[in-house]
Point group: C5
């Protein structure tokens, strides 16, 4: 039986996501020409631990070298979501995210759940759905929840929906998550509470968490988004840059927690 | 030994199909800008149960979250067909439907039968026939019937046959189902009783069910189609939108049942 | 040890081939706008049985539903060749015939031999030779003969040889059969006895059977071809349309038998 | 431990190669419009036996039907090299040679060694190196030497090196053989003794045999080539057309043997 | 538990890399028109042994024929890194390096660690990351460190970063190594100490070694680079041409050692 409570608190999700080095390059960790503390996974795990996150999402390498084997200490009381696939942002091709870690390896690393990205609408959507199907089968058989990064992407998404935050395509992506057996889908904000409520409705018993996205210019904008998605029925948020690029990550965390956990 | 009676009643089929969220997007569940009850799989399972359907066809995620694990109750007295493959309608490529669920997983979800789509005539027809061949082998070895969504599709179908309801291509698709070992083929209506009778004839001992398709403007049109296909020798119908987009799904169901079960 | 006698009589082959529904569409079974009896696999199995064919070649679905499981009776005294691959004639691509049935499944269906098509010269020749290599290995390990439909096909065949009945390419295809370990190759007629004798010579210890091909306008033309190929050293013939599209299949069969079995 | 002595005599190699029916078509066996005796594998095995070849290289089908199962007699005292991959010369694509036979099957056929072609520089070089890597692993684990047909081929070879006998590319191909763990590489003549000596040097502990190639107009030309490559440090020669297209194969063989075995 | 000390000395790395015959052709071993001693793997193993290298990196064939089976003597006291993938420089395609050796085979050859190249930014990046993911899993399960040749390459790298030594892309490549679970990354020099320090920072607990690259015109240039990277926090260097193309390899080695081991 899949136990979602491993990565939730009172049924709500507060995830700290940290796979940006692979997905966007370490440029995400820079301020001016220097790296901030965010380049260091220990810094992130400290935030996760002190901030009371319900889970932290890492690639297998970061997990193995900072969470599991060498650096294990109180920081690994935060439940771990191992992200199973990932890619760089360099090749300009129809997006595909290769599988870098197996469910079995993730369990060995101490994962409480696994994560997987599906680029809905990409020419390679089918390959990702096939692998996602195998992952949900294996993870569920071993009692692990599956968090799906459901990201509309590729030329046909642009052509048909204009933007990857168009409510119709976000709702579609969330629904694909349900029908393909994700336990939680991580999706972008659609811009308003009403349309996000439809995303939640389309996802049915699959829970919805907000994908935090780029750091907003004004922190209060992000906080408003969190309020809107929670009011729309979301289960929580997965944050990254809006926290660890902030001047005071734990303060931002506290504000988010008030909204998410009520 | 494959036992078709698991998903038939008196040798006739009344299937409720519900994989539209994945195949077409949740737009199929909208009326105006709002979702109708049809967005909720529970609503569908209630129709299936109260309507006396001989089986309901779901993707693995919908099955797992509403039929098998969390929501099991009297609704799962309706036999389950797990649809093993599926895709979104976004990428504009020669159609291919990836395998999302294995026969083994479907059995674990409580399936009485499995379903698989073959896009006959697609550039990827061969890959689907290879996988279909493996599925019929495994399913039959475990006593499960296989229902094949035999859908002509792709640029060469358009070029050679004009339409995917051209009687010649529908009969061809049905025959491919027989030779590739489908137990039941689900095909579109060819437009008249005579040509549909030839489809049934081409399928031989493989049974034929009507694919209900888009909601007709006037319900009586759809009822007439059901009459024609049954008169043509079909084993039954697989309906979706013409039932759950109807203002009174159970009433439509009763009309269909009278024709199918006589 | 592979035992060819299972599908030969006095060392000669008289095969009834019936995979046209998949390969050409059920149009092959029409006369005017109606299907003839040939649309029904039972009709074919009756001819095979009454005509004393040394084997009948079927796709797995036709075999399972008419020969093996549900319809087994005296008709299945005729040895069965299960054709392992097949495709429709719709996609206009370099030809590839996907594997629909495994050797293991064919044995479960009661096969005395297996058949496989290699489109020699196609861009996908390599994939078919790889699979053919695995099939001959497995079939021979289990004592089953392998019949290879060696068909030159694709744009380079046309460019280099003009026609797929050019004696040079037919001899090449037969030789590929020998070197890739076919026990019997099924090839088209080259047009004259002398060139067909070279085909037989190129095939060495791999036996050669004529691929009957389209129904000839005058039956005596086909009979003359049978005489020529047998005189050229062929082991027999694999017939289909020239028999079951005939007005008197058993009479044509008798004429062929006189030539093949002498 | 791999034992090269199985296919060498006093440390020298005299291989008779005979896979031309598959690679070039049976046209290689013609003189005028008729086949010579060379079309018959028995003829070749007789030459191999009487000529005292240290091994004969055959495709699996020729091996199974003439060497192993049905024709086994004194002819199979000649050690067998089963060529594991092969292709026709018809498709005009970047060259790839599909795997037709496994190491395991080759052993079952009585092989003392296995052979595999790598088209160095082809767009499909990588796929062949991957398979070659698996073959050397498996063959060496079972004590079998691996002979690599290292043939530069494809548009980039032509563009960069002009010819596939350019000494730089032949030396490169031989070196790839060493680093990828071939025990013996079969390469074309580079045109002069000095450059061939560098090929041998580049191959290091991997032994080098001459690929005989097309029948030379004057037999003495070929004999001179054999002298040159042996003087350059080659381990021996792999001959085909220069022997079995000769009017007196055994006489040519004797001349070669004098040079190879000294 | 992975034990990096097997291939380090006092926590520092001095690797001798020698896969240039496969990657660049034996031209790398020439001086004028003749091969130098560097064409001979024994010559290299002697340098590795006498120079006190902490490991030598070889392809499987070179390892098997010179290190493991036939040539094993005191030279194999130097720990072995078996490079698992490799390719020639001939095909002008988006770079992909095929897997030639498995982790299991490398262990059988006596490897203390395995190496694998990822061409970051290539169209085939995804395939390499998938395989790299499987390799780190298997190697770590068996206690073997994984050294990743993290090389930015391909048209999009050129388009976006101009050069493969642009500090941004080198830092990105190093970070991919960390997140994908490399224990050591081998990267090119970025041109100055400050930017290389950021590469080391981006790699976190994954150690960084310098990829020596082409022989510099003046040896002191290379020595200066070694000083800079060590000052920047690198763990060591992997050298090849700057050592074995030198007139006095052991002298150069001594100079490097003084810097690396302090």
């Amino acid at each position: 039986m899949v136990d979602l409570d491993k990565i939730l608190h009172n049924g709500k999700a507060l995830f700290l996501a940290y796979d940006h080095g692979l997905e966007h390059s370490p440029k995400d960790f820079e301020k001016g020409d220097e790296f901030t503390g965010a380049v260091d996974p220990q810094f992130i795990l400290d935030i996760a631990h002190k901030g009371g996150y319900t889970a932290v999402a890492l690639q297998k390498g970061t997990a193995e070298k900072y969470y599991t084997v060498w650096g294990a200490d109180e920081r690994n009381e935060v439940p771990l979501i191992v992200k199973l696939n990932g890619k760089t942002n360099i090749p300009k091709v129809e997006p595909y995210s290769p599988l870098i870690c197996s469910v079995e390896e993730a369990i060995g690393l101490g994962a409480s759940a696994v994560g997987y990205t599906v680029f809905v609408g990409s020419e390679h959507e089918g390959e990702m759905l096939e692998i996602f199907g195998a992952i949900t089968h294996e993870a569920h058989a071993k009692g692990l929840p599956v968090v799906a990064w459901m990201y509309p992407r590729g030329k046909w998404v642009t052509e048909k929906y204009g933007s990857d935050t168009n409510p119709d395509i976000v709702a579609y992506a969330a629904r694909v998550g349900l029908e393909a057996d994700a336990d939680i889908v991580k999706v972008k904000y659609t811009g308003d509470r009403e349309s996000f409520a439809k995303v939640v409705q389309a996802a049915g018993r699959t829970k919805v968490v907000l994908s935090g996205g780029e750091k907003t210019e004004k922190p209060e904008e992000f906080i408003q988004t969190v309020k809107d998605v929670m009011a729309a029925g979301a289960t929580g948020v997965a944050v990254g840059r809006n926290v660890w690029k902030s001047s005071d990550p734990l303060k931002v965390t506290e504000e988010i927690k008030k909204i998410v956990f009520g």
